[in-house]
Subunit: 256 residues, 2 copies
């Protein structure tokens, strides 16, 4: 049985806790958070603590805390030479104090406390600065039912950047769809099946092949009409122009 | 039994044909395409024709042809005073020749011939210039198992614009995610669960609430690092800047 201690009580920590509870080969040793209130409701399921000096020995310590807190928290841990990882896409593995065996356990997903998560849909990107620790980290990820991928810091940096595009920027595009429809007496809800289908389509088809629409077809009449109807919102108009030009660049059409 | 004739043999026509074959209350009278080759393989399932003079009487004629062809094709139809609709999000209902009863039957989805489509996920936006035809159009949409929505031309224009954002622009963002990962030795595939989850999340949560990430948190350090790693692609950098600013505008942060 592998023992794991979780530090932090945010989105990632909470989902990791729930997933580890179900995992067969892993037991949760302790759950630390600087403010105990956030985890008090779990006190019957696990030992909860808010004092680092109470930390017991475990095979792995997962720092699922804000990027900025990783460095300080790791240096305050009252032990050395044990395996300590963070869960960040952007923080360096070297942010962890060098007295520890260091690694990264980056779940490439978007977590909110409210939304359920099946870890089969959470690829775990593993980096082991302490190379002999890699198999243990992989075993733990597999025990969650997650696909795993061994990556280096450069690849993680790239994946996190791409994740900002496909998650945050895509979500903002949805938001603009929301603004456009609701401001003109149409309903955003009616777009939801299209949004889901657009995401499903590229699961087995490249986004290049999946593209359709006025920009790809170079349908100047429609593009002009749509730009005109965005006249009152230059901000939306700028995004329309830039992404239309981007599609045309990708598909070898002339610029607007 | 309602009789329907389909004109055109592209993505939309083909999916409509397959869905009508399964619909209980609708029979397909004929399938027309100017080039018969595109529909020859269906000749045992339906009467196929490539000559407009062979068109028989039907309760509804669906012009699922390129936007630019709607006007001409509708005027060439050798009858009048029958119900004729097109399937376009952007063409006017008045593009259909005025000798007909006119309407629009706009499926708000993205179709490719290759990908399967469950019409339960295809909201049909109905517009009836000939008002008494509305109930028939609604019945036909329901027979496909589709949700339906009665809309006017302004709402359809807005929905089509919003669809360009959430479908074409989102897909282009996926494409950029593809370019960023593959150009740096990471794999696009690992982003697919995140892409799906991002689309699923807003099925019951507003995109406003669903937003996370460096722009929303105003995490200047990460934004600066990511802009730097896009240095070699000013085009991607411009999109990063504009969408980051857009998120900050939505969530009340200062501009970059
Ligand atoms: N959310 C995601 O979708 C996601 C996905 C992949 C990776 N990540 C990464 O996972 C990590 C955690 O993200 P999250 O979304 O779970 O964050 P979060 O919900 O904001 O939670 C942050 C946690 O860090 C704790 N914390 C903050 N500063 C601290 C300090 N100085 N000392 C000790 N604890 C401190 C907070 O404690 P309090 O409860 O006392 O405030 C809280 O429990 C980050 O590195 C993030 O980049 C997040
Ligand atoms: N694809 C989508 O995701 C989607 C979604 C919603 C609405 N729509 C709308 O649905 C309609 C059809 O789109 P689509 O994607 O199915 O198009 P498509 O795959 O490009 O097919 C176009 C069809 O129109 C026919 N056609 C073109 N010019 C013609 C002419 N002058 N006379 C007669 N037939 C002509 C073509 O005949 P040939 O086979 O002989 O070339 C072809 O069968 C358009 O109004 C489009 O805006 C499309």
């Amino acid at each position: 049985m592998i023992s794991v201690t979780i530090l932090g009580a945010g989105n990632v920590a909470t989902h990791l806790f729930k997933a580890f509870v179900k995992a067969e080969d892993v037991s949760i040793k302790q759950w630390f958070n600087r403010s105990i209130d956030a985890i008090r409701s779990y006190k019957n399921e696990v030992e909860i603590i808010d004092d680092l000096s109470q930390l017991k020995e475990a095979d792995l310590y997962i720092l699922a805390v804000s990027d900025d807190a990783i460095s300080e928290l790791s240096s305050k841990l009252p032990f050395e030479n044990r395996l300590v990882v963070h869960t960040s896409g952007s923080a360096s593995a070297y942010d962890i104090d060098k007295k520890h065996k260091r690694g990264v356990f980056y779940p490439l997903q978007t977590f909110s406390k409210a939304a359920k998560m099946d870890f089969a849909n959470v690829p775990i990107c593993i980096e082991a600065i302490d190379k002999p620790s890699y198999p243990l980290l992989k075993t733990i990820a597999l025990s969650l039912g997650s696909p795993t991928k061994r990556i280096n810091s450069d690849q993680r940096r790239v994946l996190h950047l791409a994740a900002v595009f496909v998650n945050n920027f895509t979500n903002q595009i949805y938001r603009i769809g929301h603004e456009i429809t609701e401001s003109e007496g149409a309903e955003f809800d009616i777009l939801k099946p299209l949004i889901l289908e657009t995401a499903k389509k590229i699961q087995d088809m490249s986004p290049y092949k999946a593209q359709t629409g006025p920009a790809k077809r170079n349908d100047k009449k429609t593009i002009k009409k749509q730009l005109k109807s965005l006249e009152n919102n230059t901000h939306h108009q700028d995004i329309y122009k830039l992404l239309t030009a981007s599609i045309q660049k990708t598909h070898g059409r002339k610029k607007l």
